[in-house]
Amino acid sequence: MQSSSGRAFLTRMGLRNIQTNRTMSLASVLVLVSCLMLIGLVFLAATNLNSMFAEFSSRNVIMVYLRQGLEDQQVESIENRIKTMGNVKRCTYITSQAAYDRATAKNEGDLALLEGVDVAFMPAGFEVSPERLEDFDATVEQLKALDSGIQSVRSFQGVAAQLSAVQNALTVLGVAVITVLLLVSVFIISSTVQATMFSRQQEIKVMKSVGAAPAFIRWPFLVEGIVLGVMGALAALGVVCVVYVGMSRALEPFFNRLLSGFRLLPVVKQLPTLLPSFVAVGAIAGGGGSMLSITRYLKENIYEEAELEDE
């Protein structure tokens, strides 16, 4: 088949159809924009929550306190054993002095509390950051049993476990929301193309009856769907960026107070992920939607009874 000029014509036909059915095209782009906008915001929220959790879990340390008067050699051997234990991301030695300094810093307003407490009285120890929050409890137990030189182990395991549960629930929720919205997008594009297709049954019938290949018949509709989808995607991405930047500004003081130093991730950093995924989602929703609706029309017969036959 000498297809190049035919394809070019059919591509123009698809593009022209978008203009011809301007109202329907605009409507479908708008609905698609709102779907994709929600998808984008859910995605950004998820990314931020993830980074927030990462931040939280890094603050989720296990304190290992050592008995008084251990030899340097003994301390070193304990440190090595902790480091090789598995599920240990970081292990830092905290001297008595450092522990004392921290305590005084924390209780600045209330120094009376520490009156009479000697530097030498503060136990030295290790600050251990676990690799995975799921195995937090096991790691704590393991540390408790590790060495007789360990006096006590303190942790905030409840928070850790809850955090990872919340994170999992949010991931599932995010995936579910995105899936539903995707299906809605496909459906919407499909019904738009379907609506415009009704007025083009004649074209489809003519194409079939003169022997156009099904791929050729689909082409203009595919072009139309994909162009609508990508236009919707780009518009949605624009809206998402504007909304997101606005939100980061508005939320900055709130985060400063609540989670010292935490900020929403800059949207520019997300663009390399967001732009291609949006374009892909738009194209798939658009192309898929239009293919869904044309399949029915392709099956319809060319020859249909003209009801004028009575003698």
Binding site: M1, G6, K205, V206, G211, F216, N301, I302, A306, L308
Partner: protein
């Protein structure tokens, strides 16, 4: 060009739309419809409503397949057509419908060019052919008109030009004069005859019996799904007697 061998068609609801002729004295019972239309022939197919004319056309278009028997059109054995071959097969047919089926928002030129574009013809080829076809059907002066600006007869001539666009060997016309006044109908039939004389096989389903009688062409009469008469009726009186 066209050969039907023992063709029957029974629709899923049990209606038998095509079948063999009722038993004739001294003739073996037919298993189905048998007929042969030679290349370059001009054939009218007539019959009352429900006689099976549409079914006959649907089988020719390969929109329906026979329940039994086989149909051969040109070099195509329709029972063995693969899905890929169906478009190729249809390019060899030109279809003309009672309701013209022109695309309303395209002008005359584009309506004809459309049929060539969607099968991938080159622009230069398309331009030359459309100009030629418009001359052939006598509508060169209407090249930029929209279908709504044309009379019924003119619209049907555009449809005929479109049917010819991909240079088919066979034209199948379904009641082409059904929506057209008698004087224009005559002109249209003359056009079909000229096309036929130029070498295209024409099969035309029609109700316009009085028109048919004016041409000395082969007529196939269908009744209850089978061929009850088939022949060239040379003189109008004879034809009339056949129908009575």
């Amino acid at each position: 060009m066209i050969t039907f061998r023992d063709v029957t068609k029974e629709y899923p609801n049990g209606t038998v739309a095509l079948c063999g002729r009722a038993p004739q004295p001294g003739m073996p019972q037919e298993k189905g419809m048998n007929l042969h239309i030679a290349s370059r022939e001009f054939v009218f197919v007539v019959g009352a409503s429900g006689a099976g004319k549409s079914t006959f056309l649907k089988l020719l278009l390969h929109e329906e397949v026979p329940t039994s028997g086989s149909i051969c059109v040109g070099q195509f054995e329709l029972n063995n057509l693969t899905r890929k071959q169906i478009p190729m097969y249809r390019r060899q047919l030109g279809m003309v419908f009672q309701d013209f089926r022109l695309i309303a928002n395209m002008n005359v030129y584009d309506n004809i060019a459309f049929a060539m574009r969607v099968v991938g013809a080159r622009d230069k080829v398309i331009r030359e052919r459309v100009v030629y076809l418009l001359q052939l059907v006598g509508l060169s002066h209407k090249v930029h008109s929209k279908p709504s600006e044309l009379s019924g007869g003119e619209q049907q001539r555009v449809a005929i030009a479109r049917a010819l666009a991909n240079n088919p060997d066979l034209i199948i016309a379904d009641e082409p004069t059904g929506n057209i006044d008698p004087r224009m109908s005559q002109e249209l039939l003359d056009l079909f005859v000229r096309l036929n004389e130029a070498g295209t096989t024409v099969v035309m389903v029609t109700h316009a019996h009085d028109l048919v009688r004016q041409y000395n062409k082969r007529i196939i009469i269908l009744e209850n799904g089978s061929v009850v008469a088939d022949g060239v009726f040379r003189r109008p009186e004879e034809t009339r007697r056949q129908y009575a």
